[in-house]
């Protein structure tokens, strides 16, 4: 959660202030990030449809969870309505395309902007209340929005939901999963870079200052109300953007998908990944999305070994997902990213540390 003292290996010296504040803290980090993005882009055509759909979901959820991490991890607030903002983005994009004929490729970021406005309105209570009280206030936003989706036929198509066609760029339709994957990859990279940039500039620091010690932040000239609401706005932008990508990926948006369970799932992702960490968020998303599938496989092979378990396979899976998350929180409360930092520190000090 926050600053990591100099992770650079010996010999990686920075000789200007611009270098010192670079996007990546170490050369390895930079090379690895570029290598992963390039590898994903190159490997995508060879992935199975199933793998590709998992990649797309990881990208979409990463953008949304990154938004929530700005609110919870960076600013120290809480939201139980992130899933509803995600849904709002999905409906908003479909609505923009269907009602105004704006191309989906433009409607997706526009939906993010609309969700920003909604998020800031629902974020207003944050100016006054904190902690559990704020959690309950944002819970209201979850239910109000869910109700709105079901009733506002003009906006969401009501209980019937709305169609969200796949976007196209200059007549090139992103109608296959492979093509859509590149759109998601683009927005994921843009989001990760934007949030990392935010954290190394004035307003990002102000948000962290509000979290760490709001009294002295205020003395330093940080307007608490503005930044608490701004944090909701930025967080909702990414929720809306991700929601819009989700809607156009499924090509159909319906009310049932955006319940409080989704909101809690987003919270689980950032807590497991690491509060306040950009890369931790992605690790958390991967963990939460893939764990049930790994557990499914484990439960299946367990059932093969012990046929008596076969009838309870579904329960075993659900229970082991729960158990894994609990064990995780007990043994790695600072998230997956902390585990990575420990590993990195031991490499750096090798052979003097384990």
């Amino acid at each position: 959660m926050g600053h990591v003292p100099n992770p650079r290996p010996a010999g990686d010296f920075r000789t200007s202030y611009i270098d010192d504040a670079s996007l990546f803290k170490t050369r390895f980090e930079g090379r690895a990030a570029v290598a992963i993005v390039v590898a994903l882009a190159v490997a995508a055509p060879f992935l199975s449809n199933y793998m590709l759909s998992q990649m797309i979901l990881i990208g979409i959820y990463s953008i949304a969870a990154l938004g929530l991490n700005i609110l919870v991890g960076i600013t120290g607030q809480i939201s139980l309505g992130h899933g509803a903002f995600f849904g709002f983005g999905a409906f908003a994009s479909a609505w923009i395309v269907n009602s105004f004929g704006i191309p989906a490729i433009i409607a997706i970021p526009l939906a993010g902007v609309l969700t920003t406005a909604i998020g800031m309105i629902f974020g207003v209570p944050a100016a006054r209340i904190k902690g559990l009280y704020l959690a309950i206030a944002t819970l209201a936003s979850q239910f109000i929005l869910e109700d709105f989706f079901a009733r506002a036929d003009w906006f969401s198509g009501g209980v019937y939901g709305s169609l969200a066609a796949r976007p196209s760029i200059f007549g090139f339709a992103l109608d296959t999963d492979l093509r859509y994957f590149f759109l998601v990859l683009f927005w994921t990279v843009v989001s990760v870079v934007a949030v990392t940039n935010l954290l190394r500039s004035r307003d990002g620091r102000a948000l962290v200052a509000v979290r760490d010690h709001y009294l002295s932040a205020e003395i330093m000239g940080v307007n608490l109300t503005k930044y608490r609401i701004l944090s909701f706005g930025i967080s909702s932008f990414f929720a809306g953007l991700a929601g819009a990508l989700f809607g156009h990926y499924l090509e159909f948006v319906s009310v049932e998908g955006f319940t409080i369970l989704l909101s809690i799932q987003f919270l689980a992702m950032i807590i497991i990944g690491g509060l306040g960490s950009v890369y931790g968020t992605i690790l958390g998303v991967i963990f939460v999305l893939l764990l049930p599938q790994v557990m499914e496989m484990a439960a299946t092979s367990a059932a093969d070994l012990v046929p008596a378990l076969a009838s309870g396979k579904a329960y075993i899976k659900e229970m082991s997902v729960g158990a894994a998350i609990i064990l995780f929180l007990i043994f790695e409360p600072e998230g997956l990213i902390h585990r990575w930092r420990v590993i990195r520190a031991s490499w750096k000090l090798f052979p003097f540390a384990r």
Binding site: N197, R200, L215, M220, G221
Partner: protein, 267 residues
Amino acid sequence: MSTNDPMLDVRNVSIRFGGVSALTDVSFYVNRNEIFSLIGPNGAGKTSMLNCISGRYKPQQGEILFKGEHLLPRSINDRAHLGIGRTFQNLAVFSHMSVIDNIMVGLHHKLKNNFLTGMFYWVGGAQKEEAEARLKVEDIIDFLEIQHVRNESAGSLSYGLRKRVELARAIAIGPELLLLDEPMAGMNLEEKEDMARYILELNEQFGITVVMIEHDMAVVVDISDRVAVLDFGEKIAEGRPEEVMADERVKTAYLGVEESAEAREDA
């Protein structure tokens, strides 16, 4: 405003919390370029006074003028613009931020980049501005001799260093008036001497006016130009340190008084 007007003018300030009167009709002034100390026993209302100046508390009566301008209607975050910085009695560093970032937050009100230009970093001029801000931060780091910890998280530092980081952050605001709440509490002799030296240098070289709450009487007498004494929310003395220390009421209220020889005989 003429140069003879006080920089800070506190007039008849009273504040009550429920039935408890924290400050009663307190008035004092602080001249430009002075080191002014507020002293008094625990619970005398010193920190409440500082909180009134820095905006955390709104007094029920009285007014506070800073450079001839009414301070009380202004918001807390406005005070950084006006040129008032402060440190806290209890450590108030941003513990999960690096020392550099802590000090950078002090420049918040001077920087122009916002969340949008910040996100685009390279194109909106944020990068250039951040690098220039960093240069200013490095000057402050050099001044306070905290180069060796500049990349550490502030929360991991020793008590004395954290106090220094807090001071660095307050200096970054570029204050004309610096409010220090017990800058030397809990420090060893060497750290106290360093801190006293920084305060004197800030005052003499940078022309910063200092209002300080401090319990260490030796320090107060050594570096203050003037002193005000609070007791149970009332001002009981004000003046040059040696005059104030000689005042009978101050001795009784704060420093404790030796029973006089006659009193002992009577007993």
